[in-house]
């Protein structure tokens, strides 16, 4: 009985060590593979988050295709904004007609003013549904800018790397609203993203690991 217990603990310990090593390897890997196009998964939060992320996307070339958008199931406005954005894009540059875009919905990780405890529970619920989505899409790049919805998505993308399925580049752009302090998503994802972009010099000083390009929205 004791032997079985010891074996079980040893096995669990080994698995944990392997997972941590894999995580460390995945996070450190910043190899640049030359390529002609890459599939993109974009997390659109509500309101200003979507506005900011669409401004960033507007500057990207048509090589970033197909584009998969993930929005919270309770977010009605973002789908409209995204559709307008994509139609505008297709109008301005007919060569992008060939590029595809898709909108996916997942449960919101937390509502504005939701309590901490229920935020944790709803985030876990979102994780349960995010991983199959990310696994199905297998994007080359995940781009997000702070809504709670992005944490389960980014963790799922990281998991793809840890499990040896695919290395996904995770790029996080902290909202322009964040001048001196990081958002909660930012505080979590600064450790898990490949590139963490901030838009004000104060944040760059506080978080030297971040990338500062000036105001980009």
């Amino acid at each position: 009985m004791v032997c079985v217990l010891i074996l079980a603990v040893a096995a669990a310990g080994t698995v944990a060590v392997v997972l941590v090593l894999r995580l460390w390897t995945v996070l450190r890997c910043q190899d640049v593979t030359p390529r002609e196009s890459l599939s993109l998964l974009v997390v659109a939060g509500s309101g200003g988050h979507t506005t900011e992320i669409l401004r960033l996307l507007g500057s990207l070339s048509s090589a970033y295709s197909p584009r998969h958008y993930v929005i919270a199931d309770t977010d009605k406005m973002s789908a409209d904004k995204i559709n307008s954005f994509e139609l505008d894009r297709a109008d301005r540059d007919p060569s992008t007609m060939a590029s595809k875009c898709y909108i996916h919905r997942i449960p919101r990780s937390r509502e504005v003013q939701q309590s901490w405890l229920s935020s944790v529970l709803s985030t876990l619920h979102s994780m349960w549904l995010s991983f199959p989505l990310v696994h199905r899409v297998r994007p080359d790049l995940v781009l997000c800018n702070g809504p709670g919805t992005c944490v389960p998505i980014c963790v799922s993308a990281l998991l793809l790397g840890i499990l040896g399925i695919k290395k996904v580049i995770i790029v996080y752009v902290e909202s322009i609203c964040r001048v001196e302090t990081l958002s909660l998503s930012g505080k979590i994802l600064i450790h898990l993203s490949d590139y963490f972009i901030v838009q004000w010099p104060t944040l760059k000083e506080k978080y030297p690991k971040s990338v500062y390009l000036g105001r980009i929205v």
Partner: protein, 165 residues
Amino acid sequence: MKRVFVTVGTTSFDELITCVSAEDSVRIFKSLGYSQLTLQIGRGTVVPEAFSAESFTLDVYRYKDSLQEDLQEADLVISHAGAGSCLETLEKGKPLVVVINEKLMNNHQLELAKQLHQEGHLFYCTCSTLPGLLQSMDLSTLKCYPPGQPEKFSAFLDKVVGLQK
């Protein structure tokens, strides 16, 4: 005809809507020469009664596909501190007063309002200090807002993902 446009974006900000539609505030707007007040109330539960009098009109709505027209026609914009609302207003070169919603988590919006105020692009306040600010502010001191540069983002991203020519 001078217009004031109040916007809360996609959020709910009942305190602001209550404040700007109160009799005292309407009186202040009139005294400053404004004759139209438009309220975009988003998800809010406070819905003031629209009215149209000889010297003053109040319009109320929740959402429009785009606020561009209302922003363009406004002579003064009073907004919650959301990034989208602020940036769209500043990019149109409109005078902006940002009202901080003190009920939000960590009140992160305050940082942006403070920074942009320090740079001279807008005024900011809370609902309780709004009437005082309206009467004392000098809009001519506001500075033009230079737009952001998303092309720096695309150049950076192209390089790190291996798309650079």
